[in-house]
Symmetry: C2
Subunit: 473 residues, 2 copies
């Protein structure tokens, strides 16, 4: 691709300006989870809109409404850069809100003050999640302008301010605008995830879904003292722990009949994808802080994480949970568990199987307590075609920038909006990460390596160039 060399040089020349842009963004504490920070979230939206407009993009606000009476949701930024009917149109998504952060949580630096160490690690809340990647798109525009390069595609943008708090209102907006503001979309690119490790970039083509359940066991009218009632009442905790053990074993096998019948069989092509992935058990053991994995084979572990379902017991609401030794018989206890779903599991069928299983096991208990199982929420798994031109372009760009073919990865968790973009636009969706597995989003000392920020800016721009050239099937 002709223009890339000039583009890369321009990006390198602008490194200082790009870092300053990130510093300004990090300085605005746009924490969506804290209502008292909402003005900062709005301020961040305004700052981002102004930056985009200065670069020549047109931006409009979409207001999703109120979160609570008296608390407005921050606006979603609907942006466009370029409208040449002869170019492809790429919709990019990111979020400008961040997780909460307090110095006292254990940060080594002020979380809203971008701090760069001698290794080029740029510490700050939002540096990698997701302000760095969002600004990456702005950097791409700026470098093209400064180098007088033609922008290779039309860029549509969706930058929201509630991602860390459930993306409230976003799905409704996408459903509305997919056929309006975003109607020209040819493919979607989301940069809001991470490399699997620290050395090899990746493209992500799948996410598991999540179906979350609660299992309520109730009997007595109120909590009881175990001295007075122990041995005389049917204790809800006894029934609940018994039911919980019927759901999954400690090798991770889901014990609910029928669950595995829906899982897509492993294909040779899929197995081949796992062969080259740069991932060892060391990486997972280090991240885990222990060696208590179910398998000690890296490929098997990745498959368990990405393409097989799992069931986790999260805890119990209503039971005694504090340190100490309270002698209570809890009257009503609610077990929480969720199933990570994968292709081709049907969510309604999963819930039907869960319900039937719990009812059967509850009957076996012969209890006089009342048992209820219910779905709290479910979100579907997502899997894209990694052979699509959108992925081919991203793979070429990665090889160009990083000098290595990217791993094709899935992720164990869900990013529900990914599926919404796919379903509503009807187009291929690509997850194209900028940062690495050590960036610690959502944790203390969140960082983005300067190298990943600058090379990532090159990557995003290169991707747009390769997109312009890829043969569209």
């Amino acid at each position: 691709v002709a223009d890339l060399k000039a583009y890369y040089e321009q990006v390198d020349a602008l490194e200082g300006a790009f870092v300053e842009r990130l510093r300004k963004a990090v300085a605005i504490p746009s924490v969506s989870a804290e209502p008292e920070r909402r003005p900062d979230v709005v301020k961040m939206a305004e700052w981002l809109k102004a930056e985009l407009e200065t670069l020549g993009a047109s931006v409009q606000y979409y207001y999703p409404g109120e979160q609570h009476p008296g608390l407005d949701l921050p606006p979603v930024l609907l942006g466009r850069y370029g409208s040449d009917p002869n170019k492809r149109t790429i919709l990019v998504y990111g979020h400008y809100d961040v997780q909460p952060a307090f110095k006292e949580d254990g940060w080594d630096s002020q979380p809203f003050d971008l701090t760069i160490d001698k290794d080029g690690r740029m510490f700050g809340r939002g540096s990698t999640d997701d302000k760095g990647p969002v600004l990456g798109w702005l950097n791409v525009i700026e470098a093209h302008k400064k180098a007088n390069l033609e922008f290779p595609v039309n860029l549509l943008m969706c930058f929201e301010g509630m991602e860390e708090s459930g993306s409230e209102g976003l799905e409704e907006m996408i459903k509305k605008e997919a056929k309006n503001f975003y109607k020209d979309t040819d493919a979607v690119c989301i940069s809001d995830n991470y490399w699997l490790g620290t050395t090899k970039p990746c493209l992500t083509y799948g996410l598991r879904g999540c179906s979350y359940y609660q299992l309520e066991v109730s009997g007595p009218g109120q909590d009881l003292h175990s001295g007075v009632y122990g041995g005389t009442v049917t204790e809800p905790m006894t029934d609940l722990t018994n039911l919980m053990t019927t759901l999954v074993d400690n090798k991770g096998k889901i014990l609910i009949p029928g669950i595995y019948d829906q899982v897509a069989p492993l294909t040779d092509k899929e197995v081949a994808l796992y062969q080259n992935i740069d991932f060892g058990m060391d990486t997972i053991h280090e991240a885990l802080g222990s060696t208590t994995t179910i398998s000690n084979d890296a490929k098997e572990t990745l498959m368990k994480r990405w393409r097989f379902p799992s069931l986790s017991l999260h805890g119990i609401e209503g039971a005694y949970y504090a340190p100490g030794a309270k002698t209570v018989i809890p009257a009503k206890v609610i077990g929480k568990f969720s199933i990570r779903t994968v292709p081709n599991m049907e969510l309604a069928e999963v819930t039907r199987l869960v319900t039937a299983h719990v009812e059967k096991e509850a009957a076996k208990l012969g209890t006089n307590n009342t048992i209820k199982v219910s779905l709290i929420h479910d979100g579907k798994w997502w899997v894209a075609d990694p052979d699509h031109w959108n992925f081919r372009a991203a793979a070429k760009a990665t090889e160009q920038v990083w000098g290595v073919k990217p791993d094709l990865t899935r992720e164990g968790g869900s990013i529900p909006i990914t599926l919404t973009f796919e379903e509503e636009t009807g187009k291929n969706v690509l997850l194209l990460p900028m940062g690495t597995s050590t960036d610690q989003p959502h944790s203390i000392n969140e960082k983005l390596d300067k190298k990943n920020y600058i090379q990532g800016t090159k990557l995003l721009g290169s991707y747009l160039h390769y997109v312009a050239e890829e043969k569209m099937e």
Copy 2:
């Protein structure tokens, strides 16, 4: 007994004064659990000491020391009334501290403002637990003085101010003073419990013990996200719920081998004691707010409560416990359970059996998590001889005052100090309740019926007269 008629008349004549005494006591919010109320607890001690001294008793403070640096424990009152070597000496125990109470919790009246309704129910925090019974002893002295009756015994008193917060420092005091201040003790009487129902008085001769354990399962270095790690790590919750189900079934049967071997066989004499007890399933179902009892036979239910061991699962520390749907894999979870113990269970043996059982079951799980079981605390069961002269005197007094032979009851819970009094003085201990099962100590709208307060004052006085006459074996 000669003097009782005159005594009863005097008590009736002083009814108004006795109620006023209770009103003054309730007005002092001596909540031991709230550090900011500590001055009120001390004020209550001072008020009680002054009242006793006005009645002619001698009282000294025992200071148990500091609860925390900067927070003194309130004094225990060591009192004596009479020191005639020809009279028996009875040690009575009670507590002048109370549970927390706030109008906003749902009280129908101000909790520290004694409020008497048309049925003579005297509502107020501490009315029945334990200010009413404590003042009962003061009332006994006053009525004897006013009626010019000779006091039948020497009275030793132990009134503490930390009972609702674990009786901190009390055991040490008793161990020290049993052979000093309390060395003349011939028998002990504790009035700090309740009738089994509302119509028939009782004497209580047994309490279960409590051995409290924690069962810790740990693996990962920190809590994990189930999207990323679900299916790949051995989840501590799965192991813990499995282990918890091996402890007890939902019919209340303890599944730990050997536990029942230590339980004293049921004797005919004991069975006979249960035959006359005034107690129906209605009472327990009403108190429970449901009909989810294990048995529907009242005698069997009482035996399960009083004289058989039980095991309750209280909850889990470290797991997700809030409302909502957090997708966490908890890294370290601590199950809490306790065993109510009965004669002739040896506490050390109970712990040995629990430990051996958990270790065996943990091995069966084949887990790579780390499992630890440990005793948090244990308190021994207590059972007194209900044929002792101390009980005979109380039975005669009850029949005299209430016109009915008292039920001989045990209780399911433990009052650890009971056993300490028995062990340290080497004398018989009697639990002689004043209030009824509907008094709601520790709950909103705690009350003491005026009838129980006045008749209870007669009962305590009569008991001392019968004690003086009983043949000592």
